[in-house]
Structure formats: structure tokens, C-alpha cells
């Protein structure tokens, strides 16, 4: 098990020579506090780079740097081989890097079609009479979502009435439609149940197959492993290294996650003392194995009653 050199990616013959994004020893400080350090990884076209880590590991700091919300204070960020500091989210978008945030960056009360085009609305007419091309906007939204396998009865319904998975897919479809080359997905499956997570993973695969580079942030190795091409692990703001899929198994990945190693040590200690402690140890071990899956199936507060009610309706396919 060794950290991957940028050259070693033989399993993807389609990848171009220059990675879309290359991070070299990137770090971020807030005053004297070091939030992130020593992060190196690459994102290539048609590949999925997974960023794994527990809460507070520095995942969100890392994606904020990629998305242009923050700027790195150490290291180099290369976009198409050129060193870059993004000044704003807009600048990152213009470079073809689209981010789908955990809260999905959708406005719940606004209709689906308005959300789909928010910030990049097509217009017709000129001067003071320049107006939204509503007809085209609605039609495009319907078609694009249909391509993703979501058939909406009415693109006029507020996006807040869609299920969590559907909203996630709208956000992904939106990024793909607007010509993203790199798609950053912040915990897209965190708030979803098992079935919905599967749906979202399928869309990630679909986006990858279209030739997009995908950065998939998650704390669930069970979601990351089947779809990822390389895995970068973060712990307490430090990188534990980047591993190609060929060099790491799901078990190893799970073990490295979320203080898994520490839990294991604890389980061993408890097992030695025998008796009821062994019982606890068994449970702990089971928990170590199941840990990410459990958290994933828990409903987060983001899943509002309305959304739940909406998802109770017959699925849109």
C-alpha cells in the first residue's frame, strides 16, 4: 500500500495526460489554526476521485478550495496543468468546476425549472425587454431530467416537494447541463436511504461515463468503493494519502475510516478481558464494520416532512 504517483493510473486508458485538477500539498490556515494540510491528489476526466473522512476531517475545507469559496494558503492547485487561485465560486464555475453542495444549493420554494437555470438563465429579446426564455427553460428542464431518468409531472412544482434523491439528481443534471468538466459532490448520499443512495450512485456513474471528472466526498466507504477510481483519506485536517482502487480493498478502506483503527485497538483490549466485556467487544466490532452504513441510513434534518411526503408518492419513474 503506497501513495499513488500521478503517473500511475493505468486502469483508465481514456484519461488525458494532463489531469483536470491536480492538488500538490495543499493546505489552509485560518490565522494560526491549520484546518487542512498536505493534501495531494488528482482528478481526471472519466474518473471518480473519492475524498473520504469523518466529520471535521477537513473535507469541506478541501472542496471549498476546489470550488473557489476559499483559497488555499499552502501548496499548489493546478487546473489543466496551470497553477490557479480561484477568486470566487463564479471563477471556479467558469473553469468548468461545478459543485453540488450537501444542501444542494437549491431554493426550496422555487419551481424546479427556475432552480435548474438559477444563476445562468437564458433570455430572449434585447434591452429593457430582455426576458427569461420560459418556454425553453421549462422544456430543457423536463428533457434533461428525463435523460437522468426523472420524469416530473410538473416542472412548475417547488423543488422542495421533490424527494432528497430527486433533488440531488436535479442538482447533478444542472451541473452536467451547464458544461461542467469536473463535478464536485459533497456528501450526496449522506441524507438518503439505501435505495435513494443507489439511484444517486447510478447518476454519478452516468456523469463519469459522459467523460466528467468527479470528486465524490463521502464518509461512507461502502458508497465510495464501488464507484471510485482512487481514494483520498482525510483525518483531522491531514491527508492519509491517495490510493488507486487496485491498491486498496474495501476492508482496508473501511478500517482506515473514521478512527476505525482506534476502535479496533479498543475492541482487542476489551476482547482480552473476556466475560461481558467480550460481548461489548463483539458489538463494537460489528459497529466498526457497519458504522458508515448506519449513519448513512439515518434521516438527517435536511429531509423535511414535506420532502418525505413527496417521496411517499409513487416514484417518478
Amino acid at each position: 500500500m503506497s501513495t499513488e504517483a500521478p503517473a500511475a493510473a493505468p486502469q483508465t486508458p481514456t484519461a488525458s495526460a494532463v489531469p483536470l485538477i491536480e492538488a500538490r500539498d495543499i493546505g489552509k490556515r485560518y490565522g494560526s489554526v491549520r484546518a487542512l494540510g498536505g493534501v495531494s491528489t488528482v482528478v481526471k476526466a472519466g474518473e471518480v476521485t473519492c475524498v473520504l473522512g469523518d466529520n471535521g476531517a477537513g473535507k469541506s475545507t478541501f472542496i471549498k478550495i476546489l470550488a473557489g469559496s476559499h483559497q488555499q494558503s499552502d501548496g499548489e492547485l493546478l487546473i489543466d496543468g496551470t497553477p490557479t487561485h480561484f477568486s470566487s465560486p463564479r471563477a471556479a464555475l467558469d473553469a468548468g468546476i461545478a459543485t453540488v453542495y450537501q444542501d444542494l444549493a437549491v431554493v426550496p420554494l422555487m419551481p424546479v425549472w427556475r432552480n435548474f437555470f438559477l444563476g445562468s438563465e437564458p433570455t430572449t429579446g434585447a434591452g429593457p425587454f430582455r426576458k427569461l426564455d420560459v418556454k425553453q427553460m421549462k422544456a430543457t428542464t423536463f428533457t434533461e431530467l428525463d435523460n437522468m431518468g426523472i420524469r416530473l409531472r410538473d416542472v412548475d412544482q417547488p423543488i422542495g416537494t421533490l424527494s432528497g434523491g430527486e433533488r440531488q439528481c436535479v442538482a447533478i443534471a444542472r451541473a452536467v447541463y451547464f458544461g461542467a468538466r469536473v463535478l464536485i459532490l459533497d456528501e450526496p448520499t449522506a441524507a438518503l436511504g439505501v435505495k435513494q443512495s443507489g439511484v444517486v450512485l447510478r447518476y454519478i456513474a452516468r456523469a463519469r461515463d459522459r467523460g466528467l471528472g468527479v470528486v465524490f466526498i463521502t464518509h461512507n466507504p461502502h458508497h465510495a468503493y464501488p464507484i471510485g477510481d482512487r481514494f483520498m483519506l482525510l483525518q483531522r485536517g491531514e491527508s492519509l494519502g491517495t490510493f488507486p482502487k487496485s491498491e486498496i480493498s474495501l476492508e482496508e478502506l473501511t478500517g482506515m475510516m473514521a478512527g476505525g483503527a482506534e476502535l479496533e485497538t479498543l475492541a482487542h483490549e476489551l476482547a482480552r478481558s473476556g466475560g461481558s466485556a467480550a460481548e461489548v467487544a463483539r458489538e463494537l466490532r460489528a459497529e466498526v464494520d457497519a458504522l458508515p452504513t448506519d449513519t448513512a441510513s439515518a434521516q438527517s434534518p435536511a429531509e423535511s416532512p414535506a420532502a418525505a411526503a413527496a417521496s411517499a408518492e409513487p416514484d417518478a419513474r
Partner: protein
């Protein structure tokens, strides 16, 4: 935004297919029904309310509230309040009054200067709110008091009085007065040009809100500001634009009031800002932002104007005026709310 709002909105939207049903999911439909109810009530109850002279009175009363309510509604949809909107009407009128009657400036130039100053104050409001991250409620309360103080102190210092006198003697007064303060007589009723301004402002605001990029951004910054920023909506620009719009509407109402009465007092407009907010809320705006309509706000102002003048037409003891006003407004809001729920859930 609360979950209840979303549920309400979600219910309203669900399973609606026919055109009629869709009409009933508009945010302003409740206000429309309430406005019709108020109109029918006073028309039946009093003799002169439903006549051209009567309509002239309550339309004029509603018009100035309406212009402000529409602008305030846009701002509220964008998730902010402007408590300086009331005093802005007096502030701009005083600028024109002082510049023309005391310094002898050309009246057209003075009117333009007042507009520029108003837009500047609006931009400052927006900039302060966005840069400090403080609630607009507090920031604009500050502007409100500052402007109210300036209105009184500066007017008194400069003119030695607390109201502008002698506007009609200002050269070119007659050339600009018709723009803001003229009226036409139709069937014995006087209809002021402010009613046309009100309609125009409502039409433009509705167009902007529903058919332009700016409108999309207004809904977005009010509904989910962080999300809007993440997706590339120019939040700062949108919000500052909204505050400037409110200030600009304040200028328009200031001019209407100045050229309607040919005078303005140092205390003009103080306390009116809440009425604008009330009209916007009666018209279907959520206090939490992200939802509402310009037409609704205009209807809210119509309800207010009709009720206010209708009570006088009804010749009720005006010691009770505020009680009646409050009861009627509550009734209108309940009816509004009831219609919205009904319209949404009716198909289930």
C-alpha cells in the same frame, strides 16, 4: 423558511392540472378574494362607496400605499425589510422643497437630485446590511431615525420652519406638477395620476419578478441566500438593487405627495413603513422571504385603502377607526389564508 411554509406551498402545488386550479395557486389569489369581499361589503353597506366619486377617493388612498407596498414586497421576497421606507417619502419631498423654495434651484433638477440621493441612501442600506451581516431590520431602523432627525433638524435650520411653504410659487412648478399630482374628473370623481403610477409600478414589478433574471435572483436570495451565492447568483448586487428600488419608490411617493399637496412636513411618512409591510403580507408575501407577489401587494394596499376610506364612508365613530381597521385587516388576512389553503387542498 419554516417547514409549515413548505408544506403549505407543497400542498398548494400538488396534483394541480387544470388552468383554473393553477390560477388558484397564485400567491395573490387570497388577497384578490379578500379585496372583492371588502369592495362588496362597503358597496352594499354604504351608498357612495361604489360610485365614481367614491372610487376616486379610495383609489387615491390606496395608490401611494400600493406603490410602496409593491417595492417593499420585492424587498421582502428578497428576504429583507426596509424600515426607512416611510420616512424616505418625506425626506425626498423635503429635499425638493428646500432646494427650490430656499435655494431657488430649478425644480426639475431638484427632483432628479432627490432621486439620486434616495438611491444613494438605498444603496447604503443594502451595502451596510450585506457587509455587516446584521439584520436589515436593525440597519434600516438606524437609517430611519437618522433620516427622521435630518428631516426635522435640517429643514428647521435651513428654512426656519418645519414644513415647506410656497411651493406653488416656484418657477416651473406647473410644468412638473401634472406628472405627479394631477387629476382628471370622470363622472364627478377625481382620479389622481398616482393611480396610474401605482398600476405602472405593479406591472413593471410583476414583469421583473416573473419574467427576468433579476426576478429569479430576487426569489433565490430571499429563499436560500447561501444556495443562491453558491450557484453564482450575484447576491450583493441583487440585494443592493432591491434596497435602491424601495428607496426609489419612496422618492416617487414623496414626489406624488409633494405635488399633490404642494407642501411637505418634517414628519411626513414617519410610521408608514409598517403599513407597507402589512399590505405586502396581506398580499401573500412571507415574512421569511422567498415567496410573494407584486400584484398581491398591490391588492393588499387596495384592501387597506378601501377599508380606511370605507370606514369613513360608513360614518362609523372614528374613535374606533383603528379597531375597525385592525378587525377588517385581520378578517382579510384570515380569508386570504383560508383561500390559499382551500385552493391548495381542494383537489385532494
Amino acid at each position: 423558511m419554516t417547514t409549515t411554509d413548505l408544506v403549505t406551498v407543497a400542498n398548494r402545488r400538488s396534483l394541480d392540472r387544470s388552468r383554473l386550479k393553477r390560477l388558484f395557486t397564485r400567491p395573490e389569489i387570497g388577497a384578490l378574494v379578500a379585496a372583492i369581499a371588502v369592495l362588496v361589503f362597503f358597496s352594499v353597506y354604504t351608498g357612495q362607496f361604489f360610485s365614481l366619486p367614491g372610487a376616486g377617493v379610495w383609489l387615491e388612498s390606496a395608490s401611494t400605499f400600493g406603490i410602496m407596498a409593491v417595492a417593499v414586497a420585492l424587498l421582502m421576497i428578497g428576504g429583507e425589510f426596509d424600515l426607512s421606507s416611510g420616512v424616505m417619502t418625506g425626506f425626498t419631498a423635503l429635499i425638493v422643497g428646500v432646494l427650490t423654495t430656499h435655494y431657488g434651484l430649478n425644480i426639475w433638477v431638484a427632483v432628479v437630485i432627490a432621486l439620486i440621493v434616495a438611491l444613494g441612501v438605498g444603496a447604503l442600506n443594502g451595502y451596510l446590511v450585506m457587509k455587516t451581516g446584521l439584520p436589515s431590520f436593525i440597519v434600516t431602523l438606524g437609517t430611519f431615525f437618522v433620516l427622521a432627525g435630518i428631516d426635522l433638524a435640517l429643514t428647521k435650520v435651513i428654512t426656519g420652519q418645519v414644513s415647506i411653504q410656497g411651493m406653488t410659487q416656484v418657477p416651473l412648478y406647473d410644468s412638473i406638477q401634472p406628472v405627479f399630482g394631477s387629476s382628471v374628473e370622470i363622472g364627478g370623481g377625481n382620479f389622481y395620476v398616482s393611480v396610474l403610477w401605482w398600476v405602472a409600478v405593479t406591472v413593471v414589478a410583476t414583469w421583473v419578478l416573473l419574467r427576468t433574471r433579476a426576478g429569479n435572483w430576487i426569489f433565490a436570495v430571499g429563499g436560500a441566500q447561501t444556495a443562491a451565492r453558491q450557484i453564482g447568483v450575484p447576491v450583493l448586487k441583487t440585494k443592493i438593487g432591491l434596497f435602491m428600488t424601495t428607496a426609489g419608490a419612496g422618492w416617487l411617493v414623496g414626489m406624488i405627495s409633494l405635488f399633490r399637496t404642494s407642501t411637505v412636513q418634517a414628519n411626513t411618512g414617519v410610521g408608514q413603513e409598517f403599513i407597507y409591510i402589512i399590505c405586502a403580507v396581506v398580499g401573500g408575501c412571507l415574512l421569511t422571504g422567498g415567496f410573494g407577489s407584486a400584484i398581491g401587494a398591490a391588492l393588499g394596499a387596495l384592501i387597506y385603502g378601501m377599508t380606511f376610506q370605507g370606514i369613513t364612508f360608513a360614518q362609523w365613530d372614528t374613535n374606533w377607526l383603528r379597531t375597525f381597521l385592525g378587525a377588517m385587516l385581520l378578517g382579510a388576512v384570515f380569508l386570504n389564508h383560508w383561500v390559499r389553503i382551500r385552493a391548495g387542498g381542494g383537489s385532494r
